[in-house]
Symmetry: C2
Subunit: 455 residues, 2 copies
């Protein structure tokens, strides 16, 4: 009885003592980040001085140098570049989509459009009648009408989902595969409704993938107001539009992941990775996607240094080279890790924007998840306490698949995310300083706990 | 044993059945608000067509008419105006604060400033040396230096609090009481650091209150960049500034609470109140403060109607007349309720902005709070599940004090709130549609639950 009683008494005491030490440390991180945090200023530099930085572009190379110099000045033990080949898609200038005929009457109505990433154009005007369909089911039904026409996929971004990411998941297939699905039946171009429910008319670009079995036809996204306009005109009668696109796929270029390290004091050969992706789309400043993840990553490095934390494990802070249109950075990182037979105990990614954090999505075993849940109350005061076992990040995916490394992704509040995602409006001004810093606070706290207690 | 077993089995079943019916109904409200919600369009009308609407102003009278017509068209059973006297403070034109001497050298450096609400000016230039203090403790220490000087309170808005409202609570006393505290020692004017940690230089106005024992000196808030500039100059030597203010207190005017009702089917004489405040400061559009609360209130009315809900209790939707500088609307509402001996079973306010909801702060008894907690899981999917027993709202405060009515306030994420609160930047564009609608979803769900189950 006594022994059992002792256990009952001792366990909570131990847990409280441990929690207390940890909560004091996390408060120290939080105070330092709120008071001395550099994330917001660094985001200003990355978005305004470097700007949009599509993989393979000169701006991306500039971002690599910026990342290297910045992490060196923050005080990493080492900073180095990891070479990887990057896709090099170039949008070109002068893209244009316009309505040129309504019921055989010539008109000239410009529609706000952006070419989909990876899509090709030859700078020639493709003019044809529009077949407006809501979804693939309707496309299949009307497949005999498609030849020589321009298909318009007007699949709506479901507004009733509480988590807008679910609507993105559903609509995403029209951006990714719509062009080839239409080309299969002889379409000469595709336009899609942008994957958003924003109240403005900005079109949203993003990666598409051609199926090599079919013609590589030009493809563009329309802003919502113009998508509605085109849809309504199509309901009213025959509509002819002109599509001029200039996208080109250039030969792969050399690019780099930027990697900083804090060397572990006890387990220098066991790695924890924290990262985001340095590339962005070319039409905006990539502020939320994924400038936020980049400056979160650097801020975790800065804060751990600032409070004098010496990690047991080596921590890698990785600015991945190419998430948007190829995942070459994350793939290379995992390949090199495998070739060196490295031991990776955890990886964390921030690639959901710089909004108020809500929690983390983990990709861990049930036993590991039980361990993680014990930290939930430590993060709750900072907003990051909503844990779910399901999550990770695109760039750390190859690592997880290679080593079964446990992973997690920061889950910020994402109500605003798809308003600006891949649109011109993803700019520095759309990021709030406190919301951004809170993300770094929760990430640094989680990294501290994982480094201290393992998984 | 069998009986106990039966209880164990039956209770969860009953709870699940009940929850299931409720969760289906709440989903219906949510789907309707996300799909057909008018809150965002109404906010556009209120902010852009009516604009800033300080109590007593012509714009406020316009807002009253807008509120009445809007709630009539939404389909309330009755809509009426409840007269109340309103304070009538007028800012006037041409306010200006500038540095005119640095170490006896004439300069002319404009500082971005806004008169504090209720503060008086006579349009004359008050020029004097600045005594820059951090807080009241420093003021007391230097009280012998104050006579004939302008006191500058530079109390910082603590950035390390996770909930910025806590920093607002701490700094607020300098806005509210700073002018008279300085006038007590002979100060001729007061300027304060704005109650914000925004990254821009917008000054933030808000109510101050003169202590009638001392001179009613002009008082203004400075934007943070200019507060820092003035503070630094004061550290470097003697600084003289010129303050010209035009604030005037006019005789009280007649104004109105706007009240819509849905009549209760079972308890028509028992009232549930939902509200926000219709007045705003004059320097902005009052979008978050409290346009959001106004359109939340109207949206709850619209949604309950739209899904065909017939409340058991009478529900009042109240656009309160005067929160910012007098609380006359809420006071009148409680007075009239008392004079009619009405029975008020619950009141809910939204006055913390139109950001993603996190939960509700209740002002209820421990027994009532236990009942409320049973609904937490129903609201969690919609983001409003963080409950705390502590909260309410300014406008429903008099009702709570008069009848001990249980109350609650919507608690949105408030990381961005004090960036725009009482500043020029509290405009329609700072409100996100989905975040706004989610607030109305959670409010309408809570009102439904309280109407159905009582408290």
């Amino acid at each position: 009885m006594k022994k059992i009683l002792f256990l009952f008494l001792a366990l909570p005491f131990f847990a409280i003592a441990q929690n207390n030490e940890d909560s004091i440390f996390i408060k120290k991180l939080s105070d330092d980040i709120f008071t001395n945090g550099k994330a917001y200023d660094l985001l200003y530099q990355l978005t305004k001085k470097v700007g949009g930085r599509l993989a393979g572009s000169p701006q991306f190379a500039k971002a690599v140098q910026w990342g290297k110099i910045t992490m060196q000045s923050i005080g990493a033990d080492t900073v180095y570049l990891q070479e990887c080949m990057l896709p090099h898609w170039v949008r070109g200038n002068g893209d244009k989509v316009s309505i040129v005929e309504l019921n055989k009457k010539p008109v000239s109505i410009s529609l706000d459009a952006l070419a989909l990433g990876n899509s090709l154009g030859n700078g020639k005007t493709v003019t044809a009648e529009v077949i407006a369909v809501k979804d693939f089911a309707e496309l299949e039904k009307r497949k005999d009408e498609i030849k020589g026409k321009i298909v318009f996929f007007n699949y709506p971004f479901n507004p009733t989902y509480i988590i807008p990411g679910r609507a993105y998941g559903e609509s995403g297939v029209y951006r990714h595969s719509g062009p080839s699905r239409a080309a299969k039946y002889g379409a000469v171009a595709v336009v899609i409704r942008s994957l958003t429910e924003a109240t403005d008319n900005n079109p949203h670009t993003g990666a598409m993938q051609y199926d090599s079995a079919f013609a590589k036809i030009p493809a563009a996204a329309l802003g919502l107001k113009d998508a509605d306009k085109l849809w309504n005109e199509c309901k009213n009668g025959k509509v002819k539009i002109a599509v001029i696109m200039h996208g080109k796929q250039m030969p792969d270029t050399i690019g780099h992941n930027v990697i900083a390290e804090l060397k572990g004091t006890e387990f220098p050969d066991e790695f924890i990775t924290v990262g985001g992706h340095l590339d962005s789309w070319d039409v905006n400043e990539g502020a939320h996607d994924d400038g936020a993840g980049i400056v979160h990553t650097i801020e975790v490095l800065r804060a751990l240094r600032a409070v004098g934390y010496h990690p047991k494990h080596s921590i890698r802070f990785v600015l991945f080279a190419n998430e948007e249109n190829g995942l070459r950075g994350g793939t290379k990182y995992a390949e090199v890790a495998k070739s060196k037979n490295e031991k990776h105990i955890f990886a964390l990614e921030s690639d959901e924007g710089g909004f108020t954090p809500r929690g983390f999505g983990f990709g861990v075993s049930p036993a590991q998840y039980q361990k993680v849940l014990a930290w939930q109350n430590l993060l709750k005061p900072y907003g990051g306490g909503d844990f779910v076992n399901g999550g990770g990040g695109a760039d750390i995916g190859p690592l997880a698949r290679t080593f079964k490394t446990p992973v997690a992704g920061l889950n910020p509040d994402n109500q605003r995310y798809f308003d600006i995602h891949h649109a011109r409006s993803d700019v520095f001004e759309s990021v709030n300083k406190r919301e951004l810093l809170l993300g770094a606070i929760n990430m640094s706290a989680l990294i501290y706990l994982i480094d201290k207690y393992g998984l």
